[in-house]
Amino acid sequence: MFRKVNLWRGTSLVMALLLAISLAAGSVLEMYRTSVDAFFGTRSQRTVTDTTGSEEDAWTYKSDFTTAQEAYEGLKDFAIRESQETVALLKNENDALPLAKDAKITLFGIRSYAPVYGGSGGSVTDGKSTVEIFDCFTERGFQLNPSMLAAYQAYFADKEWTVPQFGGGVLPEYAEITSYNDPCELSLDELAALNPAYNSEYDAYGDAAIVVVGRPNGENGDGYYPGEEGLAEGVSTVTGNILSLSDEEMALIEEAKANFDKVIVLVNATNQMEIANLQDDPDIDAILWIGLPGAYGFYGVADVLNGTVSPSAHLGDVYAKNTAVAPAMMNYGDIPWANAADFDAAASVNSYLIEAEGIYTGYRYYETRYADIVMGNGGSEASAGTYANPDGTVATVDGVWDYENEMVYPFGYGLSYTTFEQTLDSVEIMGNKKTATVTVTVTNTGDTAGKDVIQLYAQAPYTDYDRQYGIEKSAVQLMDYEKTETLAPGESQTITMEVDMANLASYDSENAQTYIVDPGDYYFAIGTDSHDALNNILAAQGYTTADGMTDEGDASKTYHWTWEGEVDSQTFSVSKNGTEITNQLSEGDYAMDFNAFQPGTVTYLSRSDWNGTFPKTYTGLVADENLSRLLNNDFIELKTGEDTSDLIFGDTSSDLTISDLKGADFDDPRWEELLNKVTVQEFLDFAANAFHNIAAIPSVGLMQYAADDGPGGSDSHYLTEGSYQGVPYEDAAEYDYGTRVAPSPVNLAYSWNKELAYENGQIILGESTLVLNLPIMIGPGMNLHRHAYNSRGHEYYSEDPILSGYTGSAVVQGAQSKGCLVNIKHAAFNDQEINRAGIAVFMSEAKAREMELRNLQQAFEANGKPASFESDPEMENSYTTGALGVMSSYNRIGAVASSANYGVQVAIMRNEWGFKGYNVTDFTGVSLKAAPKESILAGTNAFCGFGIDESITYWNPESLSGDHDMLAAIRQNLHYTLYALANSAAMNGVNATTHTENVMTWWRGAYIGCSVVFAVGLVGCLAGCAVSRKKAKRRV
């Protein structure tokens, strides 16, 4: 008889449960709103400006794209042009290439159907835009063997492209063949099972066999490992490393060789693959390095294959026979602290990396050891496991180190369909030693139009002083480069380079404790690659093949000068902004040299004794008390009760807003007035909500904006959201395409084209900012390649600090010309993905400064201006402001969180380089792994991540306001932030009427609608319950 009461009572609870879930879901969705937008491809907030006819044009930065169609076509056009310049021809016997435009070809390899278009995480390629390899080739006129294609089509028939773990859209890769320990190549038997007639049309499509081999790359990966450890069960490769070709890949190549007169191999990877066997094989006619070509890049590859353009890319990393015996590989991967388990998990203490190879990474190692052997300075003696046999396998007994056994293609290598002659016309070294003017003429001596690259290298003397104080010198180092215009046969171009000689200085942390240049003989050399340039220098020094040189050099391509006197520790001891340069990373809490903590532990590789100092693997190190204090990320005590009355927060007397300071200099006196308005709580809220987000600061009129990753374009937003000067594109709905379309950053660097890199910055980052209203784009990625195994190497440019630095600098300048607030990532030393969150990276200060930091410095100081810009009035105002934003790294710098390393983040970046912009952490949130209070003191403006970890109990004004240094740092950080934003597209189109509005996205409508329905239902059910109970009581 009381059944109705039961129903009302139970339904009330159901309604309450559903209401609570709806409200909670709403809370979570709003809390992670920017991420939700990224995931669903929605835009839940927009900036609205009510324009009036009389006001001054507020659109400082203007997009080149007024419609979605223009944006789509502009992006595509650029991506194809970039790809055409990022294909490196490594071998071309008997002019095997180019092919006829209508050549009938047979594609071999799983990567010939499903190539690696981009990263599998970080700089991923937009699948919606991607035109697949076979479609590109067909559109360009090639006729593809349908029988072979059918076999691969059958294999992928039930497989689909993946959905990225981060960002929106679809990723043009198949999870089934994306592996770091297995190339996943199909055997001939498997091909036969998929299509028994796979080999039936070789003759009909016999103009060439094109075999595509590749390796994926991506953020978050555990990474590639050398040797057995890096191979999945059943995988066997030529050298025993995953980066050489597997048995299945070799079987395909043998099949191609057996059935085709012309065999071409495309190397579809940014990790340096081991391809010595292909280089040596006379039946392999051509090898093309294509990297990761991006969404439209196979149009460019086809254009190179068919001769529409001549290849002009050059390698930006060495291609060794066996990548595992590089000295850097002796300390790589997961090398845990012996006492890692003793630490609080929240501090993220796991492993360390002792970079004992010093400056000798990439070509610096191979070429310097080669030079020492030629010059009779030693280096040929080698211990087992540290050198390669002639076949590229690792030597298992002590023996002789031979350059020919180590090297396949040197740094800077790349062929063309034509030939060029370069002459070193003149060199002028300025009396102050700081700059040099170098003029080179390039002539196309062949019969095909093409571009050439001028590579200028230098050699500094390796002296007794250097040996005494542990200073190392590479026998050859890149100083500058330029790319010519397309030169017709017989045409010449003369280019004059202003060379920054600071990049020739060495860092002496032991004696002078600053940069030095030695007295002695110096050389400039041009060459077709680093080895050729070194040979030219050796020739100038009187050496020949009789001394062991691989080829005779050309002394006429060198310039020799001598600096007399004592060791010069003055010229480069002051930075360009006048700051004295001295040790920051050699002692104290911020030291990167492990010997500063435990003296005598690490022996750094030295050319004075190659074999005796070759790095050992440093395992089992124990974090002692001092190291543990730092590793715990809580090493600066907050002060209380200090007089902070000179620091003003929350002053409401001014009407100034950030839009009033649009474009203002950092030293504009109005900043003081503006900064006085901000409260400490506002800073804390802003800093804690920086995940792809620029939080509002209401007191100064800063609105909330979305931001996005990353180096290759917007990860999460599409042209469907596009607009031109605040007005949505009318045709937006027709263009559901992204901006992640260009080839990988490695490809860009291998173009050796500063102007192209500038344009990449303009279009890929800058137009993402303007079209999608994303003032911050997280990029470019600028960590150096330390070796071939980093699974995130595709997002970084090169092993060389000048090639990487100038490429990155050009991208930054191009992006900033469009108002994009770049976040160069990752500062610094993000040298591997394995244990990336928390790994402690140690190295000498000399290595840090001469390699990774020298690389980043170029972008922060706006260095590397292309020669063509110097004479172009329209580019007069380019390269005037360095990068205005940076993202710190997950790894520790030395023993402390990267964002908390005052030595790097403040003493070097801000003081020496004059960086005055926005500095945000990687994905840490306000948590112990970011050492929040120490990071604020080290110039961190914001913490990317999901809010405030409960363990950070001091994230409130009360806890911080008694510490004068902390408040001063907060105020300074606000100045950096607001200055950077005021000089970005965040202020584009902003006037007094500008405001943000919430947009009723479908998910917002869903949770609000559910909440209302369930709330009404709950009230109704409760009422029903009460009424029923009352009726029931009456009946009783």
């Binding site: 139970g10 609870l13 929240a346």
Partner: protein, 137 residues
């Protein structure tokens, strides 16, 4: 004197709520979240729910009082569970948003939290069963 029959669903609800609360406290006071402060909202709601469910389990409530006890217990359980879950969203975000970037102890804390939330859910379901069940008096 009439013998009151103990409510099985009430008993299940009490035990499940206690399990949920225990896992909340364990994941708050130990492991990855060591040092964090337990949420007063979770504690108050959970303790109130357990007390109300204990009353329900005793079988001594009837009529309107029984309605109030069931509903109040349910509301407290729901609130406790929601506040518990909201306090763990950052763990889920860390783990699922950018994998490979979190310590194992964080995943352990998250998984134990899921067990705790499941405890609350079982308690809520038991309370729902009691709510939909016919009163015996």
């Amino acid at each position: 004197m009439k013998q009151q029959k103990i409510s099985v669903t009430g008993l299940v609800a009490v035990l499940a709520a206690l399990v949920g609360l225990a896992f909340y406290l364990v994941t708050t006071l130990t492991g990855y979240l060591t040092g964090s402060t337990p949420s007063p909202l979770v504690l108050v709601c959970s303790v109130a729910a357990v007390l109300l469910l204990a009353v329900l389990a005793s079988g001594r409530t009837t009529g309107g009082v029984r309605d109030l006890v069931i509903l109040a217990a349910g509301f407290c359980l729901i609130a406790g569970m929601i506040f518990f879950a909201l306090g763990r969203t950052s763990l889920a975000a860390d783990i699922y948003f950018i994998p490979v970037n979190y310590p194992a102890s964080e995943e352990t804390a998250f998984q134990l939290s899921l067990v705790g939330i499941a405890g609350y859910l079982v308690a809520i379901l038991a309370d729902l069963v009691a709510a939909f069940s016919a009163d015996k008096d």
